[in-house]
């Protein structure tokens, strides 16, 4: 049961990162677009962003239900950054409706949309960075104080995720848009791909240098290297397809890069949920709770959710320019 919920948490988390990742990425790139293109960029994500963000809530509540100790420790540790992230998500969320309701204040909601996307992404990346570096913990509780999570490495990871989500966003845009947006996104793709690759490499080396345990693990189990290798191969595939302007391919390859990075991360720290402080087993709810969730939410509702999520995506497939959103 614990394994099942750890795996399901991994699935919801990766879905969140991939799905909200691309719409947050579009939000970040939004800052660099002119008015004429902004509307189209927004249309490329507006039918799905809400559903995408739901995966964050699902991830949060699965963490709460299945691993309450980790939920309590993580959320209280990252108190202020999470407040920032939530407010950033609020501002960017309302912008979808509000920017069309007030031409005079459009600049304000656009700022909220791009800025909110950036801040939310940065905080998410920083959180992962702080976890990799190691939170000050004692007996499964956070003891680092209000700003104990901050470090240059964590901030670097924040920026790294901004690059990463921008990559997903640009890949989404070539898939959904035509004309100048698609052209610009294609120009951005190689830059972003290389940037993400360099960042991942640096972060990996830095993590190994910080934790000897990690180094040992990778030396003992070299087959784990399959994840970084998948990442590198996908990056190559992405560059190749971007060159040939194969519209559907870039998103798939950037998703693969993300999955590879996620796999690397998970393999590096398993079975720890909060590295070297709280294991999956220690954080887990009692079997009565896990079983209750399994028989309903896990076995039945989750697959159903996946089915209709896919159905909604199929419904809105194709280029935005051909559709009439407004």
């Amino acid at each position: 049961m614990i394994l099942f919920w750890a795996a399901l948490l991994a699935v919801t988390m990766s879905l969140y990162v991939l799905l909200d990742g691309f719409d947050l990425g579009v939000g970040i790139l939004f800052a660099f677009a002119d008015q004429a293109n902004r509307r189209k960029m927004m249309s490329a994500i507006s039918p799905v962003w809400d559903g995408n963000e739901t995966w964050l809530v699902i991830t949060g509540t699965v963490l709460f239900g299945a691993f309450p100790a980790a939920y309590a420790a993580l959320l209280s540790a990252f108190y202020l950054p999470l407040v920032l992230m939530l407010c950033a998500l609020i501002l960017r969320g309302v912008a979808f409706e509000f920017r069309y309701k007030s031409p005079g204040l459009r600049w304000f909601w656009d700022l909220g949309f791009a800025g909110g996307s950036f801040v939310a992404t940065f905080v998410q990346g920083m959180t992962v960075g702080a976890l990799v570096e190691g939170l000050p913990m004692k007996d499964g509780h956070y003891i680092g104080g209000t700003l104990g999570w901050f470090s240059p490495f964590a901030a670097l990871c924040g920026l790294g995720l901004v690059l990463g989500y921008s990559l997903l966003g640009a890949s989404w845009l070539v898939r959904k848009c035509e004309g100048p947006i698609r052209k610009r996104a294609y120009r951005l793709l190689p830059v972003l791909t290389v940037g993400v690759l360099v960042f991942l490499g640096c972060a990996f080396v830095a993590a190994l240098a910080m934790h000897l345990e990690l180094m040992n693990r990778w030396l003992e189990r070299p087959y784990l290297l399959v994840f970084p290798v998948i990442g590198a191969v996908s990056a190559y595939g992405l560059l190749k397809n971007a060159e040939q302007q194969n519209d559907l391919a870039p998103f798939r390859y950037s998703a693969l890069i993300f999955m590879a990075a996620f796999g690397t991360l998970a393999c590096s720290f398993w079975p720890f949920m909060i590295p070297f402080a709280l294991t999956v087993e220690q954080a887990a709810s009692p079997p009565e709770s896990l079983a209750f969730m399994f028989w309903g939410a896990g076995l039945f509702v989750m697959p159903l959710t996946l089915i209709y999520t896919t159905a909604v995506y199929r419904l809105f497939r194709g280029k935005v320019a051909e559709m009439h959103y407004e």
């Binding site: 709460f64 939920y71 407010c87 204040l105 009692p286 709770s289």
Partner: protein, 468 residues
């Protein structure tokens, strides 16, 4: 009063959750109404239903968005501000919230996209299905939240091991009788909120002499529904009182403003409770009625606050006044809905202008009733987070500093104020503009704004005219 991290956390949670509940209580009702409108349109093919649907969908879009973004905050605040509570009760509250996010959030968010953008992409029946799924999602959401909150009000089906709550009986938790009086109470509150907002909009259009057909449908559907639901709501409210009486006697005493045991007990209609002197000032009390309401007998003994240790009592003034405001709003709404329905049914004319104004201005009532109802329930539960077991003081995150919560409270207050102000402004503009494309087809006589306009299909089928 010392502004500790605990107190600030309580203020912050009260603020964010109160802000949030405004939107679901509106959208739950509205989603159900949209489903009805879409179904009516599919069956009758009358264009007015379609126009109303498209119109209210726009308003639904704005308010639903605000509800979603303010709801996400709550899913995080449990862990951020109340980490000791979530660690201890996570095995019970966590799975309930997991079910909420899976069955409700995912459902409504996905199909909401279809609703807004998918009209031309799916078959009409599938579109109706999507509307239903959104309505169902909002209802599920309310259900799981009520299960969760009812468990905090009246914990059942658990055992405590090493300070961690272990669920021992999920059936008892989900089918707790407390859930099944509180969930319908909340659901009907939401329907009433939707009904009054719709009726108020209809009244507004009648007063302005625009959108006669739409205004008529809105008034009729809103007021008739309200007239039917309010008695049910009052009865459910009474059942809620019964559970408080049985399971939370000290909250009951606070709501009643009863300081000492009484037999037979009187009912304090209004007073100013004085906690320091443990008595009421300016009290208006009806003898025997207290016993009758609490136990359905004229001679029952009802307990007072003084029988409980001070540290186990809730603050008295908030539940006491909040409860009276809620009941007052409920009675006002009932009067309005019944008199309004009477006018509608019998086509009475004298005083209809006044009644239209009253209906128009009534839209805050259901919101105030919902909020004060929750204040009664939640403040009345204090000093406990989980009633009788976990004190709120022991639930807060131990490492949280006063500065951190001060900062977060200010940020939330500013952001919420901004989005609430603009959200309200945009909803107001949408309502003011009305179902725009309908304007040209409806002949409206500006000198007789309340007269029946012959343009719409409904007007042809209703008789009597008069108020409508």
């Amino acid at each position: 009063m010392v502004w500790t991290a605990l107190l600030l956390s309580r203020v912050q949670f009260a603020f964010t959750v109160s802000f949030h509940i405004i939107f679901p209580s509106f959208t739950i009702g509205l989603a159900a109404w949209l489903t009805v409108l879409e179904a009516c349109h599919l069956v009758t093919r009358k264009p007015v239903y379609r126009r109303l649907f498209e119109f209210w969908l726009k308003i639904f879009g704005v308010t639903f968005g605000l509800g979603v973004v303010s709801g996400i905050v709550l899913a995080f605040e449990f862990g951020m501000n109340w980490s000791r509570l979530s660690e201890a009760t996570g095995p019970i509250q966590g799975p309930l919230l997991t079910y909420e996010s899976f069955t409700a959030f995912a459902l409504e968010a996905s199909f909401f996209g279809v609703l807004i953008f998918g009209r031309n992409r799916v078959a009409p029946v599938l579109y109706l299905f999507s509307t239903m799924m959104v309505a169902l999602g909002t209802t599920f959401s309310a259900f799981w939240i009520m299960v969760n909150n009812s468990w905090m009000q009246s914990p059942v089906g658990y055992a405590v091991e090493n300070g961690i709550f272990i669920p021992t009986d999920w059936k008892a938790i989900i089918f707790s009788p407390v859930v099944w009086v509180r969930f319908p109470h909340m659901l009907i509150a939401a329907y009433l909120t939707g009904a009054f907002c719709v009726a108020a909009t209809g009244a507004w259009y009648r007063l302005r002499g625009t959108y006669a057909v739409e205004g008529r449908v809105m008034l009729r559907m809103g007021l008739f529904l309200a007239a039917l639901l309010i008695p049910v709501q009052l009865f459910l409210g009474h059942l809620n009182g019964d559970y408080v009486h049985d399971k939370q006697p000290v909250k009951f005493a606070a709501i009643e403003g009863r300081w000492h045991d009484e037999q037979p007990a009187g009912e304090v209609v209004i007073a100013i409770p004085d906690e320091a002197r443990e008595t009421n000032d300016l009290e208006l009390k009806i003898p025997y009625l207290g016993s009758l309401i609490a136990s359905m007998r004229l001679d029952s003994k009802e307990v007072g606050l003084a029988g409980f240790p001070k540290e186990d009592r809730p603050p008295v003034a908030i539940p006491f006044f909040a409860f009276r405001v809620m009941v007052g709003c409920g009675l006002l709404m009932m009067a309005l809905a019944w008199v309004g329905s009477f006018y509608l049914l019998f086509g009475r004319k004298p005083g209809q202008q006044l009644l239209l104004w009253a209906t128009f201005l009534s839209f805050p009532l259901p919101f105030i009733a919902t909020l004060t109802g929750w204040f009664t329930a939640e403040v009345g539960r204090q000093p406990w987070s989980v009633y009788g077991i976990v004190r709120t003081a022991d639930a807060v995150t131990p490492t949280l500093t006063t500065q951190a919560v001060t900062v977060s409270l200010i940020i939330f207050a500013v952001v919420y104020l901004v989005i609430f102000s603009f959200g309200t402004l945009y909803v107001y503009r949408l309502l003011k503009a009305g179902p725009v494309e309908a304007e040209s087809v409806l002949p409206v006589n500006p000198k007789r704004p309340l007269a029946v306009s012959g343009g719409g299909p409904i007007a042809e089928t209703t008789q009597g005219g008069g108020w409508l």
